[in-house]
Amino acid sequence: MAEAVERGSEMTAQAGDSLANRVVSALTSRLVIVAPYLWLLFFFLVPFLIVFKISLSQTAIAMPPYTPVFSLTDGMSALLSGLSELSFENYLWLVDDPLYFNAYVSSLIIAAVSTLLTLLVGYPLAYGMARAPASLRPMLLMLVILPFWTSFLIRVYAWIGILKPEGLLNQFLLFLGVIDQPLLIMNTNTAIYIGIVYSYLPFMVLPLYATLEKMDYSLIEAAQDLGCTPSGAFWKITVPLSMPGVVAGCLLVFIPAVGEFVIPDLLGGSQTLMIGKTLWNEFFANRDWPVSSAVAVILLLILVVPIMFFQRAQARAQEQGR
């Protein structure tokens, strides 16, 4: 009898235990789903809304340098009257002054060209890594990631030393006798391209490597078996199948490159027009926070809207069965 009771209590303890476990596991799984959204909410959406609000404000010689400034202690009426002061004037200003339009276009072009260059450099690199003996691959991967261990800023500064007229590159080429006058690369768009390709190469190589490495090599053999030359197999099989990696790599390079500030500032000349520099000037030189916020909001739209369309198209293609 006593034994039976004991066993009974054991069973309820077990049941209670499993219930608690279930609640905990349900909560954890919820948390796992919610956590990234919370992260996005606090570190993307809220700051973005603040920037958006500033972009609708007016400049003022004050601290912070814009009005109105909401304060939750001033009550509802102050909040409402503050809201009525907001306007889209700053956005109209961006349209009026061709400087901004030109800066956007020029940024997009520079980013597009450097993304293409990064792809041209990164694809063979990733391909070579993916085809290297499996024992070598971790080391090669390490070499690609290695530059991240040094500060980005210092690495870009280092390029000044390489590219300037009396820099390493020119000295080397003069020494070889390839040129008899130093090349003027520093302070040109070429220097910006070099800087971006160099800095963002790992972002291109890593996704490309990931797709190329998991590709089944027997597909290439099958293509060759069916009469395709090795180069034909590359274009007909390898390239189409690595498209997800190409797209991911290009987005990872293109998006930050559009808003890049450090590279054009350090390597590009004074005549280089990029939106990151314009933004910096508005913010720090002119202290016009509302206009610079408007510039930032528009930049975000320029990048986000096409990417959303692209992703939707890709999802649709996937549904149809790629």
């Binding site: 089944d216 027997s218 597909l219 053999e221 099958a222 293509a223 060759q224 078996d225 069916l226 009469g227 395709c228 030359t229 090795p230 034909g232 007909k236 099989i237 189409p240 199948l241 069965g321 790629r322």
Partner: protein
């Protein structure tokens, strides 16, 4: 002495001295580093033959196939296809096609495009490609799936697409690397017969690599049993089973009992062996040359041995023991008989009747016996 003539097939170019082999491996050796995958192998395959390379994994069968396809180059020796040395020809110029074990279907192309791929490489005009693709789809009964992508197909359907793609170019030789390995048992059995029909219909030479002996036995005209990069025996399925050339082959294909002994007598009527356990074995099958006094093995398949509770009349080809184990498989029953000298003999009996009166059971005393043509004498 009896010969095995009666179990040979009518299609047997390998017995015709005038027939020229279609594919010849001449002293092929392939080394990877210090590992020898294929060791000085010589093998002939004839036109329209369904040839199987059978062996455990790592025996070199796939390497041999890949050398024929052109993905590997032999370290030494040469491969002749229709009399021409193909050793230096890259895979994309060889008139052979391969069906890959993984199927290797192009995931970004539809079924149709997969099948048309090889034809396009040949620059075939578009209407002809379309006609050929339609024909191939019909052949493998996948007309309705032409526009699907490989990931929308079942395993069996993918296998058919891979097959259609590899025969679409009408290759002289079709190489199949474990063609049915990824299918479940039922589908595999069905597909075996479909492959045989297809081979007949298209009149191609098939070389199939498999580790599944049942598959090889069902489909192939001849089987090459491979071990450690060498061919152990090349023969028809029936010859491999009934007249294995060595203990390895006998043991590898199906189940076998091996009795070790010494030849006592050999004459025109047959061979008499003194088995190490005291049994006298007489056989009238012409097998390996063995002279009196030579140690040999007598190989006999389980189903050739009869188990009975009564002592057989003969004083030879019989031994006494007890029933050690019984496995009832439905269609047949396997008995393990422990002979009095301690050896275990595997026997099997077809369950022709549903109910058997006073059937043998565990620990019963029993006699095993077999006729004089039931087994073969092996010297290796």
């Amino acid at each position: 002495m009896k010969s095995l003539g009666s179990i040979r097939r009518s299609f047997a170019p390998w017995n015709d001295p005038a027939a020229r082999p279609y594919i010849s491996f001449e002293g092929i050796t392939k080394r990877f580093g210090d590992f020898t995958a294929v060791d000085n192998l010589t093998l002939d395959i004839y036109e329209r033959e369904f040839f199987a390379l059978l062996g455990a994994s790592g025996c070199g069968k796939t390497t041999l196939l890949r050398m024929l396809a052109g993905f590997e180059q032999p370290t030494s020796g040469r491969i002749l296809l229709d009399g021409q040395d193909i050793s230096g020809i890259p895979p994309y110029r060889r008139p052979v096609n391969m069906m890959f074990q993984s199927y290797a279907l192009f995931p970004h192309m539809t079924v149709e495009a997969n099948i048309a791929f090889g034809l396009k490489q040949d620059g075939m005009p578009k209407p002809e490609i379309e006609a050929r693709v339609a024909e191939m789809l019909k052949l493998v009964k996948l007309e309705k799936f032409a526009k699907r992508k490989p990931h929308q197909l079942s395993g069996g359907q993918r296998q058919r697409v891979a097959l259609a793609r590899s025969v679409a170019k009408r290759p002289k030789v079709l190489l199949l690397d474990e063609p049915l390995g990824a299918l479940d048992k039922k589908l595999r059995e069905e597909t075996q017969f479909e492959l045989m029909d297809l081979q007949q219909e298209l009149g191609l030479t098939f070389v199939v690599v498999t580790h599944d002996q049942e598959e090889a036995m069902t489909m192939a005209d001849r089987i090459a049993i491979m071990d450690k990069g060498e061919v152990m025996q090349v023969a028809t399925p029936a010859e491999i089973y009934e007249a294995p050339a060595s203990r390895f082959v006998a043991d590898f294909v199906g189940s076998v009992n091996l009795f070790e002994g010494v030849v006592r007598e050999r004459d025109a009527k047959g061979t008499t062996i003194a088995d190490n356990g005291g049994m006298t074995i007489r056989t009238d099958i012409a097998g390996e040359e063995a002279s009196p006094g030579q140690p040999v093995w007598f190989a006999i398949r389980p189903e050739k041995i009869k188990v009975s509770s009564r002592k057989p009349a003969n004083g030879f080809n019989a031994a006494e023991g007890e029933i050690w184990d019984i496995a009832y498989l439905g269609d047949m029953t396997v008995y393990h008989v422990k002979l009095d000298d301690g050896r275990i003999v595997k026997t099997s009996a077809v369950n022709a009747a549903r109910v058997v009166e006073d059937a043998l059971t565990w620990s019963d005393r029993a006699w095993i016996s077999f006729p004089t043509d039931a087994g073969v004498v092996l010297t290796r």
